[in-house]
């Protein structure tokens, strides 16, 4: 099935034998008490994965899941219930469970009339998804990756590669009568290489993907780049020296190092934390939180990106939100509940992991706009510092603003030149403060290759980040060498 052949709003009605009348009655049941809002979220997800180790594709898997979540909101209270049995009876039970947060009494709610479709973007209208590509062909690519990585250097000892693809059909029906639906393809290629010499073992990783067709991996031989990048990183790390410890000047390379923005800025600007005033950024709109060189946006509307969505998981079309403009804090990321309580507009950032989860404000693709400097100028300007080009995960404490992100490939900068590779180290800083120390921003904005996963309150969603090369004048590097 290609994307266009599926009419997502019709899909659930026919697949599970629902009628609009039944949906109206369930929403009516959900609103029976004194509630402001209710919605139903239907999801049907199919996924396949395959992986290679020891030069053979020895693992394949597929999964099918479906379910419906019923949400009832009353003031700042949320009731949520879900079931993986999509039947009218189960949905009615879920509606009764979800409405328990609403108080008894109040006026009888107006009858819900379902039928107003919500406009949506067209960011990933694919001819076909990788799920329709024969498994043999997908397996062949993993074998090619294995060959290329091993040929890169005899010190490459093992290669693990995997490819996963999914298609999610979603439909949101709310008590305002709106129906929004979408078909959301997503895929991801991952390569991990372990290299070994007489000094020890090191690993390298690369990967990419998005809401893209299979051909994406062959444009500019992306697949080969991932194989080579992982192998090169593992080999480079074999010669890595201990990372320095303490505050120093750090240059972040373009692309994935944008995880800095995700941790340091993005989470702290999610609407829920700011409504509850539990974020280090609470009440600071209009204040300076970054240098004048920094403009940071969250944009869910970039075609084919991993973090992009035609509609968010509450049915709101996604948008581009300016978070920081020339260093001044401008906006928050909102879902419907927090936007309503803060008397702001939803920004299309209400997201959830699946039908088993209630939506929250989440990021989409978060990045910094490019500046004036060339990356060479930036590196040349540093006498002594660290050049970090690849990162693993990061984390933030929203309330005190402290965040970390861990470099997986980094080099020393000595007298303006990139010299020796250093071992991975965690960088730690303070969200409302770190971007005030950004004194140079490159003209080389890159978005990450499409592997990001963000966890919040037990829910994981795919996200994107992006960054031009930037210079941070002082941040603490958690190495082992003084």
């Amino acid at each position: 099935m290609s994307n266009q052949l599926i009419q997502p709003d019709k899909f659930f009605l026919s697949r599970f034998g629902m009628t609009e009348g039944a949906l109206e009655r369930i929403l009516g049941a959900a609103l029976e008490r004194k509630a402001d809002y209710a919605d139903l979220y239907f999801e049907y997800r199919s996924a396949e994965g395959l992986s290679l180790e020891d030069s053979i594709v020895n693992r394949t898997s597929k999964s099918l899941s479906h379910g419906v979540g019923v949400r009832v909101c009353a003031e700042d209270r949320t009731g949520y219930a879900y079931s993986d049995e999509v039947t009218v009876d189960r949905m009615r039970l879920a509606a009764e469970a979800a409405r328990a947060i609403a108080h008894d009494g109040g006026d009888a709610p107006a009858a819900v009339q379902v039928g107003r479709p919500v406009p949506r973007h067209a960011l990933y209208e694919l001819e076909s998804t990788p799920l329709e590509v024969p498994l043999e062909e997908r397996a062949k690519l993993l074998n090619e990756i294995d060959r290329v990585a091993r040929e890169f250097d005899p010190r490459v000892k093992s290669v693990m590669a995997s490819f996963s693809a999914e298609r999610k059909i979603v439909m949101v029906v709310n008590s305002e009568g709106r129906i929004a639906a979408d078909v959301q393809p997503l895929c991801r290629l991952n390569v991990m290489v372990i290299a070994e010499d007489d000094k020890g073992r090191q690993s390298g990783m690369s990967g990419g993907g998005g809401r893209v067709e299979w051909s994406f991996f062959f444009e500019g031989e992306r697949w080969r780049e991932h194989a080579l990048t992982a192998a090169r990183q593992a080999i480079t790390n074999l010669d890595a020296v201990d990372a320095p410890a303490g505050e120093m000047m750090v240059v972040l390379g373009p692309g994935w190092p944008g995880i800095l923005l995700h941790e340091a800025i993005g989470h702290g600007l999610e609407g829920d934390f700011n409504r509850k005033r539990t974020s280090a950024f609470s009440g600071r709109i209009g204040e300076r939180v970054a240098s004048e060189f920094c403009t940071v946006v969250d944009d869910g509307t970039i075609p084919n990106r991993r973090g992009s969505l035609n509609i968010d998981d509450e049915g709101t079309p996604t948008s581009r939100t300016v978070l920081i403009e020339k260093g001044i804090l401008r906006g928050y990321l909102q879902d419907r509940l927090n936007a309503r309580l803060m008397k702001m507009e939803p920004t299309g950032n209400g997201r959830r992991e699946s039908f088993a989860h209630s939506p929250m404000p989440r990021m989409t693709n978060t990045f910094m706009l490019p500046g004036e400097n060339t990356p060479e100028e930036i590196l040349r300007s540093v006498r002594n510092g660290l050049y970090a080009v690849n990162f693993g995960g990061g984390q933030v404490d929203i309330t005190n603003g402290k965040f970390v992100f861990s470099a997986s490939e980094a080099y020393l900068i000595e007298d303006g030149k990139v010299t020796r590779p250093v071992k991975g180290a965690t960088l730690i800083g303070n969200g409302p403060d770190v971007l005030t120390r950004v004194t140079m921003v490159g003209n080389d904005l890159e978005l990450d290759p499409g592997v990001g996963m963000c966890g919040k309150d037990g829910q994981s969603v795919p996200v994107g980040v992006g960054l031009p090369t930037i210079r941070i004048d002082a941040i603490t590097v958690g190495g082992t060498r003084t």
């Binding site: 053979i56 180290a425 003084t482």
Partner: protein
């Protein structure tokens, strides 16, 4: 829709479908569960979440080729097609000489009763669950005038059921319950805010710590972080509180698990039978503990659960293995196959703990002239291939054996190989609040990066 709860009958029906579609061997796993989660914030109801889920997973073998799959579809006809599809998928998968079910002689004849379920409490209904959460948060908010805000309190209760059968005649099932309460008040002073987290978790409702006491502890943890400062970069002894010490154990468990070892992705490759920790360190994995949060009567391949020392007086005495990684390493499974529905087996510890020592946490802190008491760690700065360790930390600075002031925005770094070898003191304060636990630990020296 089937009206009866899916059980061993359905699993065996699934095995027949696999056989009919041409599979030489197969496994079926069915996991189901229900839960209710109740959250309050600033004394008011914030959220109620009610869940009900069940999934069926299969793994099929055609010769040495295999595939796995999972579905939420329980209607027989669709399920039969799904299983047949999985067999087709296996035929497209490369044969792997190490693949296969475990040796059938190893399946247990009797499955032990491990008291995984609370016999009387069931799922706690919303009103009572909210009241427990409210009690905990109220205690936190009332603890001190500087506790001005809250990230809320949440009470969860749930049950689950696992059914497993394979084509060589093993079939078993078990059920369990879990109860938990977590509180996160926020203290504020001079424009700075700090969250304190505390929680309790048990398989029995009456095994939970008192709600008010959980609230008070969370408040104390928030309050002691107020006024935290950054310190100068230095080397110093590090005392890990029990929760942070448990994190070190989790990293070790990853490094001694079969898949990381045969892939060469562990800093402990080739270290079996050698000293990997200081002599006082004994680490035990015991899946047979009655009521243990990580206990189960058989593992993810239907093999008996075991109790063994992973580290015995500093010496690495066993890896954690499932059948596949055991065959690859020329060893026997240790009964540590873990299973998520629809995936091939992975490896995980069951109840993993570091045997407590003789010292109270206060005694340990008293031995430190100047050093760090770590109470929170953030980030993913652990490289399991090399053992390199670098994480964001906060806690209390120790001066002359006393907790002097809170510190934050620093990192601690070293290598796990050295860190385990330099565990200098072990606390007597082991408490079972999760499936992996440790007492307070003192490591003789690590690098602290700050200003």
């Amino acid at each position: 829709m089937s009206s009866v709860e899916p059980g061993v009958d359905l699993a065996q029906w699934g095995l027949e479908q696999a056989r009919a579609a041409g599979a030489d061997a197969a496994e079926v796993l069915i996991a189901s569960g229900e839960s209710l989660s109740a959250g309050v914030r600033m004394g008011e109801v914030e959220k109620l979440k009610s869940s009900r889920e069940r999934r069926l997973g299969v793994r099929v073998f055609v010769g040495k080729s295999s595939a796995t799959a999972s579905t939420a579809e329980f209607e027989r006809k669709a399920l039969g097609e799904f299983v047949a599809d999985t067999v087709r998928l296996a035929r497209l998968t490369a044969p792997d000489q190490w693949s296969g079910l475990p040796d059938p002689a190893l399946h247990p004849r009797m499955v032990p009763e491990l008291e995984l379920s609370d016999p009387t409490s069931g799922i706690i209904e919303a009103g009572r669950a909210l009241e427990i959460a409210r009690t905990a948060e109220r205690a936190a908010l009332g603890a001190d005038s500087r506790i001005k805000n809250s990230d809320g309190a949440e009470f969860d209760s749930g049950n689950y059921r696992v059914v497993f059968a394979n084509s060589q005649g093993f079939a078993g099932e078990y059920a369990g319950t879990t109860y938990s309460l977590a509180v996160a008040p926020i203290a504020a002073e001079n424009g700075a805010m700090q969250t304190g987290h505390w929680y309790t978790q048990n398989r029995r409702f009456d095994g939970l710590e008192e709600a008010a006491s959980v609230g008070l502890t969370s408040a104390k943890r928030a309050l002691r972080k107020l006024g935290a400062r950054k310190i100068k970069t230095t080397r110093a002894p590090i005392v890990f509180d029990p929760d942070m010490a448990a994190g070190l154990l989790r990293a070790l468990a990853g490094a001694v698990s079969g898949p990381s070892l045969y892939r060469g992705a562990s800093f402990l490759v080739g270290r079996l039978g050698t000293e990997i920790a200081s002599a006082g360190v004994t680490i035990i994995d015991d899946g047979t503990m009655r009521g243990g949060l990580g206990s189960k009567p058989f593992d993810g391949e239907g093999l008996p659960i075991t109790r063994k020392s992973v580290v015995e007086r500093g010496v690495l005495s066993t890896y954690l293995l499932d059948s596949y990684s055991a065959r690859r390493l020329g060893l026997a499974s240790t009964g540590n196959a873990a299973r998520s529905v629809g995936d091939a087996p992975s490896v995980s510890p069951t109840n993993l703990y570091l045997q407590p020592g003789a010292y109270s946490p206060e005694e340990i802190i008293r031995t430190v002239k100047r050093g760090l008491y770590v109470t929170e760690l953030i980030g993913f700065g652990i490289n399991s291939v090399t053992g390199d360790y670098s994480r964001g930390a906060s806690g209390m600075w120790i001066e002359n054996g006393e907790l002097a002031y809170p510190v934050e925005e620093i990192t601690i770094a070293g290598n796990l190989k050295d860190m385990f070898m330099s565990i200098e003191m072990i606390g007597n304060d082991l408490a079972w609040r999760s499936a992996t636990v440790a007492p307070t630990l003192k490591i003789s020296e690590m690098m602290i990066a700050g200003e």
